[in-house]
Point group: C2
Chain length 339, copies 2
DNA sequence: CTGAAAGCGCTTACAG
DNA sequence: CTGAAAGCGCTTACAG
């Protein structure tokens, strides 16, 4: 009658809940999972019994029996960029209250590491995966395909069929920055970028396309390095650019931290911002509203991306109709003192 | 003979590995878990079979059978402070290669939210928990106690028995800052703090104790607000302090971001740092080495805390003897231009 | 050192 | 709308 005490966890089980509620175990299971076919009277009996016992479902047993966990994986390229922290928080705020566990994987901007994470995490039988962008290995794509896990892509947009994505046009954002600097009367415009992931490249393309259209594109006015973006690197790259092209009069940095470093370096060299050189950053990190001079930047909708991506995932998990496979959340140019 | 195809995951199972290796399932299980009693010849046979099949253990089944997962929970008060990101990275780098899953819980500096996280995460039957500090609800303590999960505490030190902790003395760090400012000839010294978690209070205690010992403590020279620490708040609090006490000549900020904001505000007001007022921050965030003037700060050993805490957890999980229940990793005063 | 049996706590699939 | 049986894929506890 009693189970082997040496094996049990000691926690109340569904069988005990069912016994107290006077129903079968499977009915208790259905009641607690809100399966709609259960008699409302029984549902409340089961809920009471569960509450009285302090019953908490065992996720391992549930996952084993159903071959699917209640975990959603989120794969981001970095945690060192505040951007992704805010996205993750937004995802958590939507999925946790609905009973989903959110597992974070940081792939450090490495396709190989992302593939390894996907391989590992699939063993946990996640019910869904949130991915950053579209640039991944063939093997990653195969793994995702073969496991038939619902995927939502964040940060970038695509026109591809059967792909769910929530983001904004990185390329358009770059173009908006270019037009802003041109409107300020600047003509010797440079792109300074690090990390060089797909989105950084797209921003640069948009920026240069707009410059070309205005007839002021000088391909030499560009510094792109694969190292991680940082404040220190921003100062360094700014110094290098200035030595090579002393006539530069406007710079678009692929991320705010580079611009912050450049502002400090300009201050040390006594270079007037924005009068001699105007600066524009990207992402609008918290510091940008306070630095001297305050930094003009593109405000990216990262919280909205997280929220919408999570809601889209909920829709997919519910098996409901998805109104839009592509959600464009747009960005905003925040003009401050630096340009 | 074949299992019900509608239930199975389609992935290879331990039973198949065992069949191919020509051993029993339990021997295959032991071989793959490095149980030392298995014949080395059989171990290699099992490993080969597993590799050939592309076998990946099912964590849900393992957890259900053993009543213990391979997951280590890490509870941190915030992700918005770069400090904890670096600690988490260090923990990951130690535990992931050993096959442990690291689950991150952010309790947003709320004891109640931490309690809720503990309650939820215990359902996952973690094999260990890494906690931040010692300030938690009675219910949290009971839950941890009752579940007999190994715990390691990070960031603070205690002399309590049977408690494992890895950190440094927050109070001593505060005292070191005070002595540094005194050595610079400053006498009207203030503590500016936000968030007000236990560690922030400890730093303040150490700072004020040292000032009292030097006979220069003015209790009025202090601003402590419970809001979240941020760059913007730092500028605001600095402005407020200056209006109330125009003669202040040195400020210790409980976190670097406050000091950054104060530096910007001082720049706007034309106040000379460090000549009129010296600034010292805490944590030595990346920006502090670049801001103008470069910020003097306490470099906290957060990566080391993460690494040591993770290794301590591995020791506990292995059931091995722990040499030191308390690991003091110390801090370093990094003197730069701001003081 | 190896194994057959039982069990972990759920949900699926099928019946009624 | 409800339920008895079987099964998910492992490990534990016991034997030998």
């Amino acid at each position: 009658m009693r189970k082997d005490p040496s094996r049990a966890t000691g926690r109340p089980t569904l069988a005990e809940v069912a016994r107290i509620a006077g129903v079968s175990q499977i009915t208790a299971s259905r009641a607690l999972r809100d399966v709609p076919t259960v008699d409302p009277g029984l549902v409340s009996k089961v809920r009471e019994a569960a509450k009285a016992l302090g019953y908490v479902p065992n996720p391992a047993a549930r996952t084993l029996a159903s071959a699917r966990s209640q975990s959603v994986i989120v794969l981001v390229p970095a945690l060192s960029n505040q951007l992704y922290i805010e996205t993750l928080e937004a995802i958590h705020s939507v999925l946790r209250p609905r009973g989903y566990e959110v597992l974070i994987g940081n792939f450090h901007y490495s396709r190989e590491e992302e593939e390894e994470l996907i391989r590992n995490y699939l063993a946990f039988q996640p019910c869904g995966i949130l991915l950053t962008g579209f640039d991944r290995t063939e093997a990653s794509l195969h793994l995702l395909e073969a496991n038939k896990v619902p995927c939502v892509h964040m940060m970038e947009l695509t026109q591809a069929e059967d792909v769910f994505c929530v983001g904004f046009s990185q390329e358009d954002a770059g173009a908006v920055v270019a037009r802003h600097l041109l409107a300020r009367g600047k003509r010797r415009l440079a792109y300074v970028a690090a990390q060089l992931d797909a989105r950084v490249l797209q921003r640069g393309e948009g920026f240069k396309r707009a410059l070309a259209e205005a007839g002021v594109l000088d391909p030499a006015l560009e510094i792109m390095v694969p190292e991680a973006s940082s404040v220190g690197l921003g100062g360094e790259l700014f110094g290098r650019l200035l030595r090579q092209h002393p006539d530069v009069d406007g710079i678009f940095f692929c991320n705010d931290d580079l611009a912050h470093g450049a502002i400090f370096e300009a201050q040390r060299q006594g270079i007037a911002v924005p009068d001699r050189i105007a600066f524009v950053g990207f992402n609008d990190l918290p510091m940008s509203a306070h630095i001297v001079p305050r930094l003009t930047s593109i405000r990216t909708p990262r919280e909205a991306v997280g929220k919408h991506a999570a809601h889209l995932m909920l829709t997919l998990l519910a098996g409901a109709e998805v109104p839009d496979r592509t959600v464009d959340l747009e960005f905003e140019l925040v003009v401050r003192e630096s340009s």
